[in-house]
Symmetry: C2
Subunit: 398 residues, 2 copies
């Protein structure tokens, strides 16, 4: 897969001592050589980390030079000291490339309720600043520095040519494998582009794209204290802001990038043996579809059934009935990996062995639940629930 790096950005990922294994990167620095517009989407959790509080007060906005991110410590539930630490991180990151204290943004992921070891963080930012590079290696290192329980670094890049011949590029990294509804592993993502956007436009585009991507995934239904999705647009590839057809093309590309990036999270869900794609069709509103999809996605019984390659479709239908959305239960139909198991409220005979084999032999399981209430639907992604997930999450801090 080709990696496209947008103009005017440099990247680094270093080991600064947060992770015990010195081969693992634990701090990432992303800088724009020219001031960039920034937009952000944040966790709705009322208990939110210090970085969320700091970034939320700054974006959307312009003039940003740096994003610094660390793993192993979420800097959440850390009181006033936590806020000071987050502000210092952001300031050091911006200053490392000649910016001022307000030109930085910050993201943290890891354990809740412990203070950042600021000595390590300060040294880390300094080392990272010395290693900044516009190369693929720098980009991949930045993607690795934010990994917690992720088994692979996650990134998507896209390049598109506008009608006027200009080429603009988008590059996104993210992390997350649990505490995902977008887990104490937390969802962090940064997308950088050399397109030119106004702050309010960037914010709206990012929110729309998040709605169909990062807001449609769930590993364990826990919305972290620390979820952050940032977009930086420095305009380095353009003379004038995007508009008209070019704008539409960019919006479509950003949405696709967000979906591809977001799906990488449940694909790498902690201990997961299946990615589950849930399509809901025929609802009155998209929101109804989303509520039902999320209820199924977060149901332990549905998730353990898929783990066991068990076509126990009754659990899926039952979960949908508890979503709080009104519909006619006599008109529901369900397909699992394309096999029709339930139609208009009545069970259909099916060859259990065939369906079991289909679930067992495919990494992705597809659930299609159809209602007759309207024309709205949604696609949602989740993981199965395995013994390995329990093992991983039974000893995270100790």
């Amino acid at each position: 897969m080709n990696i496209y790096i947008p103009k005017g950005y440099r990247f680094a990922g270093v080991h600064c001592g947060l992770k015990s294994d010195s081969k693992l990167l634990d701090l990432s620095l992303i800088v724009s050589d020219i001031p960039a517009v920034a937009a952000g989407v944040f966790t709705p959790n009322l208990v939110c980390g210090a970085p969320v509080q700091v970034d939320r007060s700054r974006v959307p906005g312009q003039g940003f030079r740096a994003v610094v991110a660390n793993s192993r410590c979420a800097n959440a539930c850390t009181g006033e000291q936590g806020i000071c630490d987050a502000e210092e991180m952001a300031a050091l990151a911006a200053q490392s490339v000649g910016g001022n204290t307000q030109q930085g943004l910050v993201m943290s992921t890891g354990v809740i309720g412990t203070l950042l070891p600021m000595d390590k963080i300060r040294n880390g930012i300094k080392t990272a600043a010395e290693k900044l590079t516009a190369s693929e290696t720098g980009f991949l290192n930045a993607a690795q520095g934010i990994m917690t329980t992720d088994t692979v670094e996650k990134y998507v890049t896209k390049s598109l040519t506008l009608k006027n011949g200009e080429t603009i590029t988008l590059a996104g990294i993210c992390k997350g494998a649990a505490m995902i509804a977008p887990k104490l592993a937390t969802m962090l993502a940064v997308i950088v582009t050399d397109a030119a956007l106004e702050p309010s436009v960037a914010q709206k585009l990012l929110q729309n794209s998040a709605e169909d991507s990062f807001n449609c995934i769930s590993v364990d239904g826990h919305t972290s204290t620390s979820d952050i999705l940032l977009l930086l647009a420095n305009g380095a590839a353009q003379s004038i802001p995007l508009h008209g057809d070019n704008f539409e093309l960019f919006a479509k590309t950003l949405r696709e990038l967000c979906i591809e990036l977001a799906v990488k999270i449940p694909e790498d869900g902690e201990g997961a043996s299946h990615l589950i794609t849930i399509d809901i069709e025929g609802c009155k509103t998209r929101n109804d579809a989303k509520i039902i999809a999320r209820k199924i996605a977060e149901d332990a019984l549905v998730k353990t059934a898929i783990c066991g390659a068990d076509p126990n479709w009754g659990r899926i239908v039952s979960a949908s009935g508890t979503a709080g959305v009104s519909y006619d239960p006599k008109k529901i139909s369900l397909k699992l990996n394309g096999f029709e198991l339930f139609k208009n409220g009545e069970p259909l005979p099916f060859d259990k062995k065939t369906v079991v084999t289909s679930i067992r032999n495919n990494r992705t399981t597809h659930i299609l639940l159809t209602f007759v209430e309207g024309d709205s639907g949604i696609r949602f992604w989740t993981t199965d629930l395995t013994s390995e997930y329990v093992r991983l999450n039974s000893d995270y801090t100790t």
Copy 2:
């Protein structure tokens, strides 16, 4: 523990071939020798089993003679045939003791989406009717006949003496170990008493008691298609309906019985290694407290942490922040097994080994989360989430 059997009731539990092991009982019959008042509380799941639909149309009411219950097949998502089968079960049960077709009630638990093997059921009811007895053995057999993944039969009995010297007795059985928010193991419970109650009064008493008991437990957050809680009151011990102080005493006893019975479900939660008691204090309303308690109770990260004896209190605080209830996050305090870990939004230093040992060595873990928004609170019960839960639920139908 003494077992008290209310006057005028007989019980049986038999093996009729639903479970493959012929030593395991799978059908229960409970009869009142005189017509009884019946009240019921049912699953709010929009997709509800045929027994739920049949019973809901009949209670609250009077003149009931029999309750029949089976395990292994929930008779849910079974269309019109399922309704016919449920009605036939209820009718056969009532007729087995000389009642008419409308004097029976029915409950089913097990896999969703398969039709009941009615030949086995018919024979089972016939055999059970021949074995009806007012003895402890009959009562315990009835408790065993509804077990699915339960490891023990669950029952609570209570006897109380009224001011006029009359002794009245309550005896309850229940089942459930997963698909509990009250799992496709489903929650079923029957309470019988020889007190005299009017139908509407019985219904109100049962609803109130359920609110503090069966509605405050969760194993995996899945509200089954088939939850049923029934109360039969035949008045065999009384000349006139309960009133005044006697009524209050009965109401209090019924509530206590419901709580004791309900807690047996998460105590026996599938694969559980800990019962978790969650106390929420200082909320604006009881409903706010309940929403927060349920969010914590159903959080995979909280549940796996307790499984691993990990005092990862940040997950508890984080879960509370996603409940959708408004509160000041800077004023939350948390105790775990009595150890104060978080106070007024700031982490407190604590000896991790001591807390780990406390969680590991106690079957019950106690979480106390305190807010400063008001005077309302709630107690809620759940289980930890273990690899054994995943194993049990990965191969339930296959």
